[in-house]
């Protein structure tokens, strides 16, 4: 039996039926990590010994007839989530030696379900990047082709799931960091509504945009883990106090009559015609299933990237002010005085992209520029959110491409930051408006996966997951595994 290609539901059923143990499963996947990590560089830490202990505990629970749907199933956390007693770096030199003193709420919840953490995934430094090339620990390679990027910032999480090293990895999405790597790696990425999943213990980048989510092979797998991750958390002041539906039970909702909005601006210049073909074919599948396609528009969508690159850096410059070389994190050697301590600790601890964003944020928040840049961007954010609202008055979900192209070569977009930023043109809108959104595989261009994006109104997680599930029952793109990882 190939344990590494089973779905989460199959793994859970196999564990509960005693067909295999969590220890066997964990050992199998740790061996796969050991074999493929040198090529992929997808993990910053591998926690083998504690994983084996957790697996043994899970087996004990299962042997006594206890445990739930996820007990004993291995997974990986993006290295942005604090894990009690385990090194948590955010892929930065700044936190190279940081051992988190507590668990993030997401980590605690999945631990309580009996999931077994195998390690911490590589990512762009402080989640700032779209190609996983800004990591202090080096770039992650795309399992479909090692010369290409896996996308970012959750590039390590996407690569470990695409390579079937684990069935599930946590991820975060501030401007597309779950959906874009999901698209470039051929897997399913889910970003819930802002506030649906707790941000407590998730190292902050841009607090009005950050949201935790999932990377899995399928929408059915996403529903299983999202059900365990979502919910109100008094420790996160932006967490939403609202009951969590049973996303798994909701998967089989009928699709017929679903009104799908085709966002006009998603299909304008910039979209690779080959990618467009795959997306249109996916839409044809939805039509065949009884959905209705309607054209809608978010006229200011083109301004979402500029608005984001004011709001996100502004919030980042404020959030990252906490790294001062005093209480935790990197400290420069032999500081002359306190100012020198701050400046050199931060100058040495942060990489170039993080510094660029801190400086952009500092500039747009500074006296004389605050109104012209920051307030203006917040107004444009409102315009875009209103336009999405108007679109959702006409349709149930919006669909389109996740990215303009398939995965690009390492180094191809590092020279000019704006070229890299434009890669998130289709994903950023959902973050600005706080909407749930996902990417699922919908075909291949030159042997590289293409993502279909689905965006819904606030708290329409069930609708998105069931729409994606209906498509995945009709197609098998989500079951494709890159060569060498079968």
């Amino acid at each position: 039996m190939s344990l590494h290609t089973l779905s989460l539901a199959q793994l859970g059923a196999g564990l509960r039926a005693g067909e295999f143990s969590s220890v066997e499963l964990t050992r199998t996947l740790l061996a796969r990590i050991e074999a493929h990590q040198p090529q992929l560089n997808a993990l910053i830490s591998v926690t083998g010994p504690t994983a084996m202990q957790a697996a043994a505990v899970a087996d004990g629970v299962l042997a006594n007839g206890g445990g739930g749907a996820l007990t004993g199933i291995p997974m990986v956390h993006k290295d942005i989530f604090c894990t009690d007693g385990v090194r948590t770096t955010c892929a930065s030199r700044m936190l190279d030696n940081f051992v988190a003193p507590y668990d993030a709420t997401v980590v605690a919840k999945l631990k309580a379900e009996g999931m077994v953490m195998l390690g911490k995934a590589n990512m762009d430094e402080f989640a700032m990047g779209s190609s996983n090339e800004t990591s202090y620990f080096g770039p992650v390679r795309n399992p479909w082709n090692p010369q290409l990027v896996p996308g970012g910032s959750s590039g390590g999480s996407a690569a470990v799931v695409a390579a079937r090293l684990v069935p599930f990895a946590t991820a975060t999405d501030t401007g597309g960091s779950i959906r874009q790597p999901a698209a470039l790696c051929g897997i399913t990425g889910f970003k819930p509504t802002y506030g649906r999943v707790s941000r407590y213990g998730m190292i902050a980048f841009a607090s009005s945009l950050d949201q935790a989510g999932t990377l899995t092979a399928s929408a059915a797998d996403a529903a299983l883990v999202l059900r365990a991750m979502a919910g109100f958390d008094p420790r996160d002041s932006t967490s939403v106090d609202r009951p969590v539906p049973d996303y798994v039970a909701g998967l089989e909702q009928p699709l017929a009559g679903l009104k799908i909005g085709l966002l006009k601006e998603f299909f304008e210049k910039g979209l690779d015609p080959a990618n467009e073909r795959c997306v249109r074919e996916a839409l044809a599948v939805y039509e065949k299933l009884g959905a209705q396609l309607v054209e809608v528009s978010v006229p200011n969508l083109a301004l979402s990237v500029p608005a984001y690159y004011v709001v996100a850096p502004a919030e980042c410059s404020s959030n990252l002010a906490r790294f001062d070389g005093v209480r935790f994190g990197h400290r420069a050697k032999e500081p002359k005085d306190l100012l020198d301590l701050y400046k050199r600790s931060r100058g040495e601890g942060f990489g170039p992209e993080v510094k660029r964003r801190i400086m952009t944020g500092t500039y747009v928040l500074s006296a004389g520029y605050y109104d012209a840049f920051y307030i203006k961007a917040q107004k444009v954010r409102r315009l875009i959110a209103n336009e999405f609202d108007q679109a959702f008055a006409q349709v149930d979900v919006v669909m389109g491409p996740t990215t303009p192209t398939v995965a690009f070569a390492l180094g191809a977009k590092t020279a000019d930051p704006v070229t890299m930023y434009l890669n998130d043109i289709y994903t950023i809108g959902a973050n600005l408006a706080g909407l749930p959104a996902m990417s699922l595989p919908c075909g291949f261009v030159q042997d590289l996966p293409v993502g279909l994006q689905i965006i819904g109104p606030h708290f329409a997680e069930e609708r998105l997951l069931s729409a994606a599930h209906a498509y995945q029952r009709e197609t098998d793109w989500h079951t494709r595994v890159p060569r060498g990882y079968e």
Partner: protein, 94 residues
Amino acid sequence: MKAEQIASIAHLARLSMDEAEIPRYQESLTSILSFVGDLERAQTEGVSPMAHPLPGLVQRLRPDVATESDAHERYQANAPQVAASLYLVPKVIE
């Protein structure tokens, strides 16, 4: 962006930056600011700035009571320099 502006922003952001690094940030920040300058063309009269993405929700406050127990040893294990439970920094007052 002029080189002096970059140096001044770096200072405000408490980032050390040597002369040789400045041109690199000068070029990229110029490019970023010209790109976000596009926002100018948006019609935003009468539009209120949006800080929270969910309508009608504001930041929740909690009662001002202590809920955490003292775990300073655990937290200070990550500190670069600690003595007698105090964080050490270079001399601030002469």
